[in-house]
């Protein structure tokens, strides 16, 4: 069963958010949804680069009240 994994990396400085995403991705299964919340402005370009490299799907990337939310669907894992 695909799961939704929430990674709360708010108030963590760079590269905390990507580190937490990497840790979550290691445990994730194909089809899982990973939602990352971060406040570090560097996270936005970083998560885009990460999605491009890993070949997963970025379903949503938005910023609201200083919080960046990235929703990733795990599609590159076999």
């Amino acid at each position: 069963m695909a799961e939704k994994i929430v990674v709360d990396a708010r108030n963590m400085a760079c590269p905390g958010p990507i580190t937490k995403l990497t840790k979550a991705y290691r445990k994730a299964k194909p089809g899982d949804i990973i939602e990352v919340l971060a406040t570090d402005p560097g996270f936005k370009p970083d998560v885009q680069a990460w999605v491009q490299r890993t070949g997963n799907e970025l379903l949503e990337l938005k910023e609201e009240n200083g919080v960046i939310k990235a929703v990733i669907k795990v599609t590159a894992k076999k």
Partner: protein, 396 residues
């Protein structure tokens, strides 16, 4: 005057020794439990593995590093029960305490990534002791051609610049031997940029290029095929090697902690990031790599945390700021990655003077562990003068 309290310190690494010796200098009854006979200056492993230094240069007997009056117990801690104020050792001995300082460092999980243990057996590494560092030197120094890969299994490892230093030192050795180019040095980092912090990546990237080091970003090792000589990444790529070393996944030091809620999912002690007090207890602290503070795991944080904990036990309102001072060494130069909880790493320059400063820090290492009360003012002056909030304006 009432007799001063009894403090049980677990671990004689930098954090444990500084806290224990500092408290002993102020009249506290201190017991330190340590499993090893020798204390290893951990950055020394880089020099053993990539410059062929003699391991003895970076080791001292623990008995030489504790103040007279400190009771040193040799043993392996297996269990902590915070509610009952009880610590158990593998041989069945039990210790109670009035204050507890956990300074057991991080443990390594070589089974988290398949092939990592086999790779360690074959090529050694620069994280898990002088013997393994020596083995890596033997593998590396016998290379005449091919590819050396330095990589990590997880972004949350000790000393963020360690693999970069490894690459710089390896390239230095190869250049001296006229082998750079014939032997290719590949640094694979689990970060989006060449260094964990983008500010520092911008400064380090050209230096890596200059040194002839190839960098692979976003490469977090997921599995290793030692037979086929290939590393596979979580991000979906692969790297071939002739000799490789992979920094293992880190976790907390103990399997048994009561209550379980005192540690996070990776086994690191949950502490208040400013007081280093273990959540829910006012008589127990965790210092250095074994805690979950959102700062880098480095000797500097263990050192400063050790002082903060000692001072808090003495009744002062000392605060841990999350300050880092990670030295990044290249051929003849260095820079310090300086940050704290409130400030991400500030842009700094490489210089020969900072390399001199780093060499001085290394020389001061042993006496500063044994006599923190004497050396502390000097370190304090340095840390105050180089606060990130000051350097962010000045540059350094």
């Amino acid at each position: 005057m009432a007799q001063k309290k009894q403090v049980l310190v677990l671990g004689a690494g930098a954090g444990g020794l500084i806290a224990g010796n500092y408290l002993a200098a102020n009249g506290y009854r201190v017991t330190i439990v340590e499993k090893n006979d020798y204390h290893l200056f951990q950055p020394g492993m880089l020099w053993i593995a990539f410059r062929g230094h003699d391991p003895e240069r970076y080791m001292r007997r623990v008995t030489e590093l504790v103040k007279p009056g400190v009771e040193l117990v040799k043993g392996v801690v297996t269990e902590i029960n915070l509610a009952e104020r009880l610590v158990k050792l593998s041989d069945g001995r039990e210790f109670s305490y009035e204050y507890l300082v956990v300074a057991l460092g991080a443990a390594y999980d070589y089974d988290a990534v398949s092939g990592n243990r086999e790779l360690l057996e074959k090529y050694g590494d620069f994280f898990s002791g002088a013997e393994h560092a020596r083995r890596l030197w033997q593998a590396f120094s016998s290379m005449k051609e091919g590819t050396l890969v330095i990589a990590a299994a997880d972004p949350g490892y000790k000393c963020p610049p360690a693999p970069h230093k490894a690459a710089f030192l390896a390239a230095e050795t190869l250049r001296e031997r006229g082998l750079l180019g014939k032997v290719k040095v590949v640094l694979a980092v689990p970060f989006v940029h060449e260094y964990s912090s983008e500010n520092i990546a911008r400064i380090v990237a050209p230096k890596l290029r200059e040194a002839g080091i190839e960098v692979k970003t976003m490469f977090t090792v997921e599995s290793i095929d030692v037979e086929k000589k290939k590393l596979y990444s979580l991000e979906g790529e692969e790297l071939g090697f002739d000799v490789a070393t992979v920094i293992p996944v880190h976790r907390g030091p103990l399997d048994k902690v009561e209550p379980e809620t005192a540690v996070d999912e990776d086994g690191f002690f949950k502490v208040d990031k400013h007081t280093l007090r273990i959540e829910g207890y006012d008589d127990a602290y965790a210092v250095g790599d074994c805690n979950n503070t959102p700062t880098s795991k480095t000797g500097v944080t263990a050192h400063l945390g050790g002082e903060v904990v000692a001072e808090r036990i003495m009744g002062y309102n000392a605060v841990f700021t999350g300050r880092t001072n990670c030295p990044l060494i290249t051929d003849g130069e260095a820079l310090f990655v300086i940050s704290d909880y409130e400030h991400p790493p500030v842009p700094v320059r490489f210089s020969k003077f900072k390399r001199l400063l780093e060499d001085m820090f290394i020389a001061m290492y042993w006496p500063s562990l044994r006599d923190p009360e004497k050396w502390s003012p000097l370190f304090r002056a340095y840390f105050e003068a180089t606060q990130p909030k000051i350097l962010a304006k000045l540059g350094w």
